[in-house]
């Protein structure tokens, strides 16, 4: 079901436009390299271009240093794929954030996703000082004020008006405390979120319940909710997500299906196993997209194909979501 949001356009964002027109939006994730090789970014842009309305670039995800989100975003603008830059609160204080946002907007970037950021103890620079000058809720509010009130966090006016950014937040329907997730979503909307992307959904009944409550509270009319989906690559990956990723829930049926996909293949035949797993992973992902389209309040999908950008196009096509609207 296609969700509808406010008619008033706040930015020049293609994503905002697609949603405003009532289309079921599609976003995906582009993982930047650990190097300064922009050619790798351009390769991934080619894989996603035309298949999505916008693509997120992660910001030192899991505390591992990678080519910056904004730098990759600039390349995306140049190549004609709309970026959603991600900004965590872990690595920057309010000065750096505002400065980066001015720079991003100056280069034509129109979407930003605000995150707390995985703790640096997960990453490759565990001794680093974490910043957390402001939290993700305060970041939402800060950017909203920059855009709608045209002033910096300190209150000073921004000459020429603030950056016109379409503001996003992450939503996790599955992390504890589960009861409070709706209040958190309402709070994020009040803080300034225009759209949210959820974490990967591998528990459809739980997501159903979450969305039912969201709709009851009328939140879907105030924010565009993009459901997070992503293709599994192996049974091991499914189990890893269930057991080792904070805030993730994976229902047994997915683990069983992935295990079942290679049941008739010899353990030594690694290429065949990989192919079977991937095929099943894609199948599940497409099914999930079809399922979430039917849920009231869901305005689109956010496809997270970790280090597998090539599969996004086929998934979007198989889910019947092509061609993407051109505004």
């Amino acid at each position: 079901m296609d969700g509808a949001i406010s008619e008033t356009r706040k930015t020049r964002s293609n994503l905002e436009g697609v949603l405003a027109q009532g289309h079921f939006a599609v976003t995906a994730e582009l993982g930047p390299p650990k190097s300064h090789d922009m050619a790798q970014v351009r390769e991934k842009i080619e894989l996603l271009k035309g298949h999505v309305d916008a693509a997120n670039i992660t910001d030192n995800q899991t505390g591992i240093v990678r080519l910056s989100s904004i730098a990759a975003g600039i390349a995306m603008v140049q190549e004609g794929l709309e970026p959603v830059i991600q900004m965590t609160c872990r690595d920057r204080n309010r000065l750096a954030m505002q400065s980066d946002l001015l720079g991003a907007a100056g280069h034509g970037i129109t979407n930003v996703l605000c995150l707390s950021g995985d703790h640096q103890s997960f990453g490759n620079h565990q001794g680093a000082k974490n910043v957390h000058d402001i939290d993700s809720m305060q970041l939402l509010r800060m950017i909203k004020d920059m855009r709608d009130e045209n002033h910096f966090q300190c209150g000073e006016e921004i000459p020429g008006g603030g950056p016109r950014l379409f503001i996003g937040a992450a939503a996790n329907p599955f992390a504890d405390p589960v009861d409070l997730r709706h209040f958190r979503l309402a709070k994020k909307i009040a803080a300034g979120a225009d759209f949210v992307q959820t974490q990967l959904i591998f528990d459809m009944p739980l997501f159903h319940d979450y969305m039912k409550r969201v709709v009851d509270m009328g939140l879907h009319e105030r924010v565009a909710i993009l459901a997070g989906v992503g293709p599994l690559k192996s049974a091991g990956m499914a189990r890893y997500m269930r057991d080792r990723v904070p805030g993730m829930t994976v229902a047994d049926e997915y683990i069983e299906r992935m295990a079942g996909a290679v049941a008739d293949i010899a353990k030594e035949d690694k290429p065949a196993r990989q192919e079977a797993w991937r095929a099943e992973g894609i199948r599940i992902c497409v099914e999930q997209i079809e399922q979430v389209r039917e849920i009231e309040g869901v305005a689109g999908v956010h496809i997270m194909a970790i280090e597998w950008e090539a599969v996004v196009g086929p998934i979007v096509e198989a889910a019947g979501l092509e061609p993407r609207p051109v505004l």
Partner: protein, 228 residues
């Protein structure tokens, strides 16, 4: 209270290269109640250092004393006599004590035997946990008595983040999620509405970020002879 713990013996030994005789000084206040620097710990450390140095073939003389509080000059005065004998003072006080000794006796090498770790409390016998980061503008009235700066790994003011699992912090499953605790306790106290408001950004200038902090109490200072 201030909680500290002893550095490993090898680390302390390596600090004392070139020393033949040192004075180990304990402190009778914070580090005594967290069993890091009382007279007893001074005895244990001194004995260990003497033994280790003899095993290494270069005997080190370590004498022992303990003062009530290393952070107040009046208790450091009595140490002046006989200090010439020592190549260094090994302080078993917190970082404040070490610096107080170093300021009072700037001609003496003063070495830290402890790592001052945090301000906290014993949660059970033998276990201490951090509780306060001295941010300088306490918000405990807003968070049902649970400090978000200290107990949340990301110092969120509008938590929790998306990483909580089974009520525990993503950083360490033995640490409860501070914001889950705050929400739960607020619910019990009927304070949920307040948590729905976005807590504005914190002014960190009252914290360490603002530079060295100082408190001046005019009502307590030594009055001028002229009464000004």
């Amino acid at each position: 209270m201030i909680v500290a713990e002893q550095k490993p013996l090898a680390a302390i030994t390596s600090m004392m290269e070139g020393c033949r005789k040192v004075l180990a000084v304990g402190c009778g206040t914070c580090v005594t109640v967290c069993f890091a620097g009382s007279a007893r710990e001074v005895g244990i450390l001194a004995s260990s250092l003497r033994m280790a140095s003899r095993v290494d073939g270069e005997p080190l003389a370590v004498e022992e004393t303990t003062v009530q509080r290393q952070c107040e000059d009046e208790y450091l005065e009595p140490l002046a006599e006989g200090l010439d004998d020592y190549d260094a003072i090994l302080s078993l006080g917190c970082g404040i004590g070490v610096q107080s000794l170093a300021d009072r006796y700037p001609d003496k090498r003063v070495l830290p035997a402890l790592n001052t770790t945090f301000m906290g409390r014993p949660t059970e016998q033998g276990v201490w946990e951090e509780r306060c980061q001295a941010c300088g503008s306490c918000v405990l009235d807003k968070t049902a008595g649970i400090c978000p700066v200290t107990r949340c790994a990301k110092s969120l003011f509008n938590g929790p983040c998306g990483g909580t699992q089974d009520g525990k912090c993503e950083v360490d499953p033995s640490i409860p999620c501070a914001w889950q605790m705050i929400w739960e306790r607020s619910a019990k106290l009927g304070l949920m509405d307040r948590l729905m408001e976005v807590e504005p950004v914190k002014d960190w200038s009252t914290s360490r970020d603002g530079g060295l902090r100082r408190i001046v109490r005019d009502d307590l200072r030594m009055p001028d002879a002229e009464g000004e």
